[in-house]
């Protein structure tokens, strides 16, 4: 059994395909895996990755920085204004922005922008498979 997965950004549909399972993380709800036949569901996504398990067993991983997931019938849509496929992530840039965010945070602990930038950089690095 598979279902339709769509990754929709405000500018275009960035990914479309069949999947056996989709794993995401919602705000306050922790990781959640969707399989075909899941009850209708709407959730706010945390700054984390979204894994799409394709019917052939391969995984497509995306860094999703904010957005929503909607499951309805045989379709799952991920709406996000910032999502990147693992292959598109510039590891050097993510490292640099992580370092910049860390130094900004050490100067000012309550810097919300830097905190956000740090968590985004972390997700990018995790998704791209390059730790630290």
């Amino acid at each position: 059994m598979t279902f339709q997965v769509e990754l929709v950004s405000p500018e275009a549909i960035t990914y479309q395909g069949e999947a056996e399972m989709v794993i995401a993380r919602t705000v306050g709800g922790g990781d959640i895996a969707f399989q075909p036949g899941h009850v209708p569901f709407i959730g706010v996504l945390a700054v984390w990755s979204v894994d799409v398990v394709r019917p052939d067993g391969d995984r497509d991983t995306f860094a999703v920085h904010r957005g929503f997931v909607q499951v309805a019938g045989t379709k799952i849509s991920i709406l996000s204004d910032v999502s990147e496929a693992a292959g598109d992530i510039d590891i050097e840039r993510a490292r640099a922005s992580k370092a910049a965010a860390e130094s900004a945070l050490s100067a000012d602990k309550d810097n919300a922008d830097a905190e956000g930038a740090l968590s985004r950089a972390d997700v990018r690095l995790a998704v791209a498979g390059a730790e630290g």
């Binding site: 929709v8 950004s9 500018e11 549909i13 705000v27 306050g28 209708p40 709407i42 709406l79 204004d81």
Partner: protein, 311 residues
């Protein structure tokens, strides 16, 4: 001088021809851009539709929150007007119609006894309002012919912040709706406060309300709360994309008309020039013949003037 008129006309034809080359080039550029802008507008539709469908499902689930973006002011003291124009001219009536519609909104606000706040996108509208001494509260240029979501988000955030803190009580969005290549229409839409979720759902009114019992994570209210700002951004982005497509379509049409006019003018001027040249030649021949006759009557043996040699 007999050749003077001809020379003047020849110069004018040359300049009209150059103008025609420019307008033709602009027409072709606009034609390719309008296709691109249309594609972008089409590509952006799924997101807006999905966001609306989530709101519909939330409404069906009975989620209502007291969100700042839904605040209905008891008395409107300040009306925000967002106007989307272009940075460059030569687009026919595109800018003037949208600017006039925006000015009307400002006047409406004044007649209601409210102050206004102009949020201007595009240099043309800014020039117009600045010249007439309107106060412009926010001005963005360089985005109107190829807007990105980032631009839409920045402006939407700015406007939402002003609205949430209560310094404006209502926001109207004035832009140009792209209906088809041949038809664009100025549209004025209530931007903020947002309608209640039920109204949004009812307006979309298609089958998207898959009224099943949805589960919400973390809660319907929390989903709605993070969804509404996205909805505002997506709406502004949609309006920006529509305006961009309309701008290019208007420019294409205006430039096509200009090229056609130039062509017509060239034909007319060429006829005039040919006539002038003919006149000049006739006059010259008459002068030569007259001169030769006058000389011939005086000295028969003289060769006639080298008329033939010149031809």
């Amino acid at each position: 001088m007999a050749g003077g008129r001809e020379r003047v006309l020849r110069r004018r034809i040359g300049s009209v021809q150059n103008t025609k080359k420019i307008t033709r080039a602009m027409e072709l550029i606009a034609a390719t851009r309008v296709v691109k802008a249309q594609q972008r507008a089409r590509a952006a539709r799924p997101y807006a539709e999905q966001i609306t469908s989530v709101i519909e499902n939330l409404a069906a689930g009975g989620a209502e929150v007291d969100h700042p973006l839904l605040r209905q002011a008891e008395k409107v003291e300040r009306v925000g007007v967002i106007v989307i124009s272009s940075d460059r001219g030569l687009a026919g009536p595109y800018n003037s119609t949208v600017i006039k519609a925006a000015e009307r909104q400002v006047q409406n606000a004044r007649s209601e006894g409210a102050d206004y706040s102009l949020i201007v996108i595009g240099k043309k509208a800014s020039d117009y309002f600045a010249f007439r001494k309107y106060a412009i509260d926010s001005f963005t240029m360089g985005i109107s012919d190829n807007p990105t979501y980032e631009d839409a988000r920045r402006i939407a955030d700015e406007v939402s912040a002003l609205f949430s803190e209560g310094s404006i009580d209502r926001v109207e969005l004035v832009y140009t709706e792209f209906i088809s290549l041949g038809r664009q229409k100025v549209a004025t839409r209530r931007f903020l406060p947002l309608e209640s979720t039920e109204t949004i759902a009812a307006e979309a009114g298609d089958d998207a309300g898959l009224s099943g019992a949805f589960e919400f994570e973390p809660s319907p209210e929390a989903v709605l709360e993070s969804l509404l700002p996205r909805y505002v951004e997506a709406r502004l982005f949609g309006a920006l994309l529509d305006s961009a497509a309309s701008e290019h379509a208007s420019r294409q049409r205006a430039m096509k008309a200009a090229t056609d006019n130039a062509e017509e003018l060239i034909t007319k001027l060429s006829r005039e020039m040919n006539q002038a040249r003919q006149d000049a030649i006739t006059t010259e021949i008459m002068e030569i013949v007259g001169g030769a006759e006058a000389m011939g009557s005086g000295n028969e043996s003289e060769e006639p003037a080298p008329v033939g040699a010149q031809n």
